[in-house]
């Protein structure tokens, strides 16, 4: 038995939680889980809360066991996991900000998403409090001779999302980067409470606009698991088709942007054209360039006709050779590789400890890809194999994307060729319960945890973007690099601000 499952021995899984088990644990078992995390026996994918209960989503990469552990906190307190497991720090700071649960022993009590600007505090608590008084955010102290600080943001130069970066540098070299996020906090979790499934799905599909298909699919999976309904095969395949198109478009954008930040604009220009071709085809075939609101609970909102299939075949035939030229330009430009190779390295052990997914994890030896390991439908019928590299630098993250584009192009062809016939949507019966949904966005696995009430409305919905576990590693990646390489490192991660700030 996996060490993770052993922590729950003798417990009965909650009957209303699907498809993965949820266990209610006592403090003793919660502390045993903390021990396991401290010893890297399994990973923490998320920690979030409801007014009386804290939940941890845990994953064992070897046995592929995925479990939700819940600890009741009638007094509003629970033992901090972050004490022994740093990846939990931001989750627990957020738990304090949003739900008002107190992690005992947490050493970093600075508010994270709450900047002291809301008309209330603890918006998700059963009794929200008075607003947090305005405060000066205390960045971590840095001591040493000749160090200087460079504050950047929240508004950055360029068309990107807002966030604040505090660099401490010694000459050109970055000694420490400290991130401060939360600027685009929209109150999504509170907004979702009380909504019907369809409305909630549209909003979850906008947690991070670039991953709309992935978020909507993860949400739909959670809802379908609660309803006990298997969506029609054709719908599942069409979701995968859209998900791969989303991945291809985003990877094109990222590859171009990374090269652009290394001052190589030719690749950027070509990637821009390739990306635009994908979005135009998506618009023609699915009716929306980013494919928003196309994945719905119970299936998909649009079917694909033979004309659409031909159109997408043409798209892939056009993209594949053009992309090969771009890749050979990347691979044969030493001045470009000089910028990307050995820049922004993250160690495999750090990636494992943080359970960082997507290109951040797979570029540093962590093979996890939820398409192969957790949410395998329909990928098990398509012979999908995740791409892994070891170097953990910007170059490796570019290559992960390159190889994933190629794999996704192959997947699109396969899906178009084998698309099952039949309906694309079914009604979901109204049922109360809890569900967990997973989908592999272009930047890593998206999780959506959902609790529905008797009327089938959202009582609690927690969407977790992969960025949560990648943002902290960006701080590690830039250490020892020069300030001028930060844009390059940042783009090679391309974490979502909106997905993180919620």
């Amino acid at each position: 038995m996996s060490e993770l499952l052993a922590c729950f021995e003798g417990l009965r899984a909650e009957p209303d939680h699907h498809p993965w088990p949820r266990f209610r644990v006592d403090r003793e078992r919660w502390l045993a889980l903390r021990q396991g995390l401290a010893r890297d026996r399994f990973a923490l994918l998320a920690e979030f809360g409801e007014p009386q209960e804290v939940h941890a989503i845990l994953f064992d990469g070897e046995s592929l066991a995925l479990v939700v552990a819940s600890l009741a906190c009638p007094t509003g307190r629970f033992p901090s996991l972050a004490v022994d497991h740093l990846p939990a720090v931001r989750f627990e700071r957020t738990l304090r900000d949003l739900v008002g649960l107190e992690p005992e022993g947490l050493f970093d009590l600075r508010p994270w998403l709450d900047h002291g600007k809301w008309p209330l505090s603890r918006p998700l608590a059963s009794n929200p409090g008075a607003p947090e008084v305005a405060f000066d955010y205390a960045f971590l102290p840095v001591e040493g001779e000749g160090l200087h600080q460079i504050p950047v943001g929240p508004i950055h130069a360029g068309i990107i999302e807002p966030g604040h970066f505090r660099f401490t540098a010694s000459g050109e070299t970055v000694v420490r980067l400290e991130e401060r996020l939360g600027w685009v906090h929209k109150g999504i979790e509170k907004r979702l409470v009380g909504l019907d499934l369809e409305s909630a799905c549209r909003i979850v599909g906008r947690v991070s606009g670039d991953s709309t298909v992935a978020f909507a699919w993860a949400f739909a999976r959670a809802a379908e698991a609660i309803a006990g309904v298997v969506p029609p095969a054709r719908a599942v395949w069409l979701r995968a088709l859209m998900l791969e198109l989303e991945r291809i478009a985003n990877h094109f954008g990222d590859i171009g942007a990374i090269c652009n930040d290394a001052a190589f604009t030719l690749i950027h220009a070509h990637c821009g054209i390739l990306r635009e071709r994908v979005l135009r085809a998506a618009h023609e075939v699915f009716g929306h360039r980013l494919m928003m609101d196309r994945v719905v609970p119970g299936g998909v909102a649009v079917d694909l006709d033979p004309g659409g299939i031909a159109r997408l075949h043409r798209l892939v035939d056009e993209l594949a050779p053009a992309f090969d030229k771009v890749v050979s330009a990347y691979d044969n430009t030493p001045s470009l590789l000089d910028r990307t190779a050995e820049t922004g390295r993250v160690s495999p052990s750090l990636v494992r400890r943080f359970a960082a997914g997507g290109h951040v994890g797979r570029a540093a030896g962590r093979p996890f890809d939820s398409r192969a390991h957790l949410a395998t439908e329909p990928y098990d019928d398509l012979g999908f194999r995740p791409v892994v590299r070891e170097a953990g630098d910007v170059d490796a993250r570019v290559w992960i994307r390159i190889e994933e584009v190629r794999e996704s192009l192959r997947l699109v062809r396969e899906i178009l060729a084998k698309l099952p016939a039949g309906p694309v949507r079914v009604e979901l019966p109204v049922r109360a319960g809890c569900g967990l949904g997973v989908a592999e966005a272009f930047r890593g696995e998206v999780l959506v945890w959902l609790r529905l009430d008797e009327a089938g409305r959202v009582r609690r919905c927690y969407p977790r973007d992969p960025s949560w576990l990648q943002w902290p590693l960006l701080e590690a990646a830039i250490e020892g690099n020069i300030v001028a390489d930060f844009p390059l490192c940042n783009k090679s991660f391309n974490c979502s601000y909106s997905g993180h700030d919620l």
Binding site: W118, P154, A157, P162, K190, T212, A269, E276, M292
Partner: protein, 185 residues
């Protein structure tokens, strides 16, 4: 490598003909410019994009304006890094309470004459995230924080929607609002 250079040199440009300026936008701009002196900007506009809370969907489409199909720069419209160099603030997203202060500062740093464009349903105050405690005025409309000259709806607005709105702005800024659209003439 060379293949890509030759390909770039020899292939036909993908850039599309310009769309016509958006009529509705021209009408809105006519009204908003009524009270103000028109600046002669030499048919060039510098835009500072500010994400004040967006889901990043709007940013993706604004980015697309720079790709070879839309090639915004051929119209003399370009994105700049600092509000101090900008004529236009192009604002996306519902304005979050956490971002409102930074947005106002960016506006204050932008020299006159200046225009504010709210891009996307969220920025227009009718996005899906509203109502919420975390948004300015609960709906996050840019107009709650800044004087808005032009609204470009859409979730997200397509590059063509954005382009048509910006072209209308360019006409208006240049004092070339067509008579039909200008209520003062």
């Amino acid at each position: 490598m060379r293949r890509l250079y030759f390909h770039s040199l020899l292939s036909r440009a993908v850039t599309e003909p310009a769309p016509t300026p958006d009529e509705r936008a021209l009408a809105e701009l006519g009204a908003s410019l009524r009270a103000r002196a028109r600046a002669r900007l030499g048919r060039s506009l510098a835009i500072r994009e500010v994400d004040a809370g967006s889901c990043n969907g709007c940013e993706l489409e604004i980015h697309a304006l720079n790709n070879a199909f839309y090639d915004l720069e051929r119209f003399g419209i370009r994105f700049v890094a600092s509000p101090r160099h900008a004529d236009v603030l192009l604002v996306t997203g519902p304005v979050t309470r956490n971002m409102a202060f930074a947005l106002k500062r960016a506006f204050d740093c932008t020299p006159d004459p200046k225009w504010v464009v709210a891009a996307g349903d969220c920025a227009c105050g009718r996005g899906l995230f509203a109502p919420s405690y975390a948004l300015e005025g609960e709906d996050g409309a840019v107009a709650r924080v800044l004087p808005v000259d032009l609204h470009i709806p859409g979730c997200p607005p397509t590059p063509v929607d954005l382009l048509r709105g910006l072209l209308a702005l360019l006409e208006a800024a240049d004092g070339r609002i067509p008579h039909a659209a200008c209520p003062t003439c």
